[in-house]
Symmetry: C2
Subunit: 246 residues, 2 copies
């Protein structure tokens, strides 16, 4: 068993307890969930489920990153979502997975068998309310992404992706100077391309261009430094105040 980095027995030590689907549950409700949960871990690159597969569980990402994507017969694929820690996987009431789900990095899920979870949802408004809230947020994110996919140039797409990741890192990391953000990019060029609706060559070219123009600095191959976040945002095409999370 992999080391989870927290106490698997006790939801009180869970790193996502305040943002996951269970965030609103009372002590007794949590106890019920705690009794039925189990963990599953996946190595980077491993499939979690394939589109069309029967899915007998639902669950939350505890650590790591997973991708949701759709494939066309001829091999074109589009990533339609990134699951980050606290994001929920699966849909109560649906047995077949609609997308391919792949672990982008090493990933641990906190799972529940689907049927018991559905039963509990019916009896636990706190659970349903929280899931509704999370789903509405995801819907907003998906719609924001539609603007990126439908209307932005390749350069703006790259800048948008980097800005999103940078913002997320900033929201997790403790306060540090805004003008010296940096993070490890968890995605390959191909994964970025699948997310952005581009080819990996175009991604590579535009990343190089942003580097050449001083908007980003590469430290090694995967570490990105943002010397001036506002300059990056200016490249996204969004208006300054709003951005992708308007």
């Amino acid at each position: 068993m992999t080391d989870l980095g927290f106490n698997a027995k006790d939801c009180g030590t869970c790193p996502i307890q305040h943002r996951a689907v269970c965030a609103r549950c009372e002590t007794d409700e949590l106890a019920t969930l705690e009794a039925m949960k189990y963990y599953r871990s996946f190595e980077a690159g491993q499939p979690i489920v394939w589109s069309g597969d029967r899915m007998d569980f639902v669950g939350s990402v505890v650590t790591g990153v997973a991708s949701l994507s759709q494939a066309m017969e001829d091999g074109r694929t589009q990533m339609v979502g990134l699951l980050l820690p606290s994001d929920f996987l699966g849909r109560p009431g649906r047995a077949a997975a609609p997308y391919d789900v792949v672990a982008v990095t090493n990933t641990t899920l906190c799972c529940f068998r689907r049927k018991p979870f559905e039963t509990m949802m019916g009896a636990t408004p706190h659970l349903a309310q929280r899931l509704l809230e999370m789903t509405l947020d995801e819907l907003d994110a998906a719609r924001e992404w539609m603007l990126v996919l439908g209307r932005k140039t390749a350069r703006e797409k790259i800048a948008s992706l980097l800005a999103i990741i940078a913002r997320r890192e900033a929201s997790l990391a403790p306060e540090r100077g805004q003008d010296d953000m940096s993070f490890d990019l968890p995605l390959t060029r191909e994964a970025m391309a699948d997310y952005l609706g581009l080819t990996l060559e175009t991604v590579s070219r535009q990343v190089s261009a942003l580097k050449r123009d001083g908007v980003i600095v590469l430290d090694g191959k995967r570490r990105i430094v943002i010397p001036d976040f506002d300059a990056l945002v200016a490249e996204t095409g969004d208006d300054v105040d709003g951005g992708v999370f308007a």
Copy 2:
């Protein structure tokens, strides 16, 4: 007051009663909603709310079609959703509209003031459950559309849009021969372009091309006839069984 085509007093005559957010409500719950509802009508082309506006109501589309779209400062716009009869507008718990909402055709909404509706949602699991279900469906639709926007060619995009509308018409209209579908396109070329992430010229060219190739037949400017639905689906790039609603 416009003629609504049904009895505004009685939810029992409402055309969307079985699919709207209130579909699961019991008689007494319905009575409460009935007491607080009010109708608003908009002419084709009129704005319903602008992005950033304060929204003090939520509601359901009863008749007509409305669009959700996002605009960039330089005028590029992307439609991120189409609201059809029974679709829900607004988000409990959020005061500011995140998108521009425009009536595409003459449209009637069944509205509730936001605060009382939120209160009722907290006390009425049937309402929250139904809204969750509808939101999950919308999320699926948004993600399906991400594939269209990110990976499909102009021709495939047009075919996908026509196939979606045709399917929807078929699901509403009583059984008729599958090989003779036809419908009025409620969207201008520009609206189609905004939905598909194309320019209106490209839309026009690709519609002409599909007509030239016999995949569709135009009867006047807006009426579309689909002589062979399978042939249309073949143009979407989706595999035959699944399609956009896989």
